[in-house]
């Protein structure tokens, strides 16, 4: 298991080496090198902002295709609550669930049902941990990854319970094995997801050794097929729905918190807002909160990039769907072994990927270097060097990953200075200076230096040209 696996990929053919993604990445994980964007896997948290913002559609999320289910003898679909919000005029989730069966899945297990179990377990956890408040939600994998690399003081506040998708997968697998007698590897548990972060979670989970989710499909891929099957669901639809208000609400920001029956919670969505909240939490600015719900996507999971519907419209649809539902329909006493499936079995370790050096002394020395470099660089944050800010370039230089000459303005200034000195020397020569030969020699040296700097600029252009023709770049 690669602990830094990522599901965001670059199509280099389409990448123009512009600066949109590098400026937008919340952890400054992207650089443009040789004319192509490259994502630093240690910094990336799979939030999908670069996918959202790329104007050339060069960034993609990886997920499985529908035919991956053919290799299994028995398949179970795990619809995310966000799936229900994608359709017009849907007033009964059973239509979606029956349509999934018509599409070819052998069984369906609602993630929203597992969400109600996680809410129940969370209420209990909050009651027993009043000395460690606030507790931070761990349902969004991007948020957990962000905290892991950037907010180590908050790791102890993480809710150590598996996210609903994981609990749903464990329960679905258990139920499938009991029902069919098949071995675990013959059963395919397939999550229908609103975001790529969950793909990363299924391949490299935090809090558990191995995820029970076998594959992840995208809502937008499943949508067209599902619509045609939904039309075919008749009056004889089975009553398969097992979740209520709480489960359905998990799809929108604030929904997870609403299942805790408390007023003292905070729900933030959108990665920039999440970062601000985390920084304030670190500074202990919120003292009266019990629970902090954080979603990397605007609007919550309905805002994930694999959705079809506008997140705010989807939010309204979820509210309508849940209006006359019972508060919850799934309860922990209804399932076997569920107490073992919910808590984390492994911890989350701090990964100091942003450290400048291997130890404090080294990092301190490098910090000083960074400060000095920042003074030399123009402070325009233009992105031409391929780094999002001058400070980021300075850090790259200090880590040995870039050089001052990457900065176009720096090169230009050097050239400027050199040509000034050349003209001063030329004047001296003209003025009949006694050390004429010496001056001539120095003059030639300076001219050589100017052409060296110019050729550096030329090299950059050449590299970018070859970058465009090769398929270099990417993760």
């Amino acid at each position: 298991m690669d602990k830094f696996y990522h599901s965001v990929r670059l199509d280099s053919e389409l990448c123009k080496g512009c600066i949109n993604c590098i400026k937008r990445c919340p952890t400054q994980a992207i650089r443009v090198r040789n004319g192509k964007a490259q994502i630093n896997g240690k910094f990336c948290i799979d939030c999908g902002e670069c996918i959202r913002v790329c104007p050339h559609h060069a960034k993609h999320a990886t997920y499985d295709k529908m035919d991956v289910m053919k290799q299994y003898r028995y398949t179970v679909a795990l619809p995310a609550p966000a799936l229900y919000s994608q359709f017009n005029n849907l007033d009964d989730v059973n239509i979606v669930l029956n349509a999934l069966l018509l599409m070819g899945f052998n069984d369906v297990f609602e993630v929203s049902a597992a969400a109600e179990l996680v809410s129940e377990a969370t209420r209990e956890y909050l009651n027993h941990h009043e000395d460690n408040l606030p507790i931070i939600s761990t349902a969004c994998p991007s948020v957990v990854r962000l905290i892991r690399v950037r907010f180590p003081n908050l790791i102890s506040h993480l809710l150590p319970l598996n996210p609903p998708v994981e609990v749903a997968a464990s329960l679905a697998a258990q139920r499938a094995m009991q029902k069919t007698g098949l071995e675990r590897q013959e059963i395919g548990i397939c999550f229908i997801s609103p975001c790529p972060s969950k793909v990363t979670y299924s391949k490299s989970p935090l809090g558990t050794e191995k995820s029970q989710v076998d594959h992840v499909l995208a809502i937008k891929d499943v949508y067209p097929q599902l619509i045609s099957h939904m039309k075919a669901v008749g009056e004889e639809a089975w009553d398969l729905a097992t979740s209520g208000k709480i489960g359905i609400s998990w799809g929108r920001s604030g929904g997870e918190a609403s299942g805790l029956f408390t007023e003292s919670y905070l729900a933030a969505d959108g990665i920039e807002n999440v970062i601000r909240v985390l920084e304030d939490l670190e500074d202990q600015k919120f003292t009266n909160l019990k629970f902090v719900e954080l979603n990397a996507c605007n609007g919550g999971c309905v805002g994930g990039i694999l959705n079809v519907e506008n997140p705010y419209v989807a939010e309204v649809k979820l509210k309508r769907l849940r209006k006359y539902m019972p508060v919850a329909r799934s309860h922990m006493d209804m399932e076997d072994h569920v107490e073992e499936m919910i808590p984390w079995t492994t911890g989350v370790q701090y990964e100091p990927v942003f450290s400048l050096g291997g130890n404090i002394m080294e990092s301190f020395a490098r910090l000083n270097q960074v400060e000095r470099l920042c003074k030399k660089l123009p402070g325009l944050d233009c992105g031409s060097c391929g780094a999002p800010t001058c400070k980021a370039l300075a850090e790259d230089i200090v880590r040995g990953q870039a050089s001052e000459n990457d900065c176009v303005y720096y090169l230009r200034e050097n050239l400027h200075k050199l040509s000034e000195e050349v003209s001063v020397l030329a004047d001296d020569l003209h003025g009949g200076d006694k050390g004429g030969q010496e001056t001539l020699r120095i003059l030639k040296e300076y001219i050589q230096r100017i052409s060296d700097e110019m050729s550096l600029l030329d090299n950059r252009d050449a590299e970018e040209e070859t970058g465009k023709h090769n398929n270099s770049g990417g993760l």
Binding site: G244, I246, S249, F261, K319, R322, Y324, V327, R329
Partner: protein, 140 residues
């Protein structure tokens, strides 16, 4: 006279997460009986609002549903504090729901007004310190 079909539900105040399950059950049974969709919708909404009220405000109680070929009668009897001012409680937007349940969508103050709107007849009997009984009829 034909025998009515009678369904009884104990509404427990202890588990808020189960609030609304009785109404869901009645809805399912009415569908199996082949009652018209409009009548089912009215019964489902009116009974849901009443059931939630019993859990949130009134310490639970008992719901009895009588189904005849002519109409569906719901009797919601609770052992709660009683309603001090029925006219005020019937006003749209007036709510005494606690803050903890508002994020789930409760507390809009439309419960009693909706119950009146979706039923053909509604009667409220209430005594402070003893409890409230609401009787509603939806015609087939």
């Amino acid at each position: 006279m034909d025998e009515a079909i009678v369904l009884k539900y104990d509404i427990s105040p202890d588990d808020f997460t189960r609030a609304g399950e009785a109404s869901s059950d009645v809805k399912g049974k009415l569908k199996q009986l082949g009652v018209s969709p409009e009548a089912i919708r009215k019964v489902a909404i009116a009974m849901y609002e009443g059931e939630i009220n019993m859990v949130i405000h009134a310490n639970g109680g008992e719901i009895t549903v009588e189904i005849t070929p002519v109409d569906i009668k719901m009797v919601l009897a609770d052992v709660g504090p009683g309603i001090p001012d029925v006219e005020q409680a019937m006003k749209a937007g007036y709510s005494t729901a606690p803050d903890e349940v508002r994020s789930l969508g409760f507390g809009a103050g439309m419960g009693l007004p909706n119950m009146k709107k979706y039923t053909d007849d509604m009667a409220i009997e209430t005594k402070l310190g003893v409890g409230t009984t609401i009787t509603m009829i939806v015609k087939m």
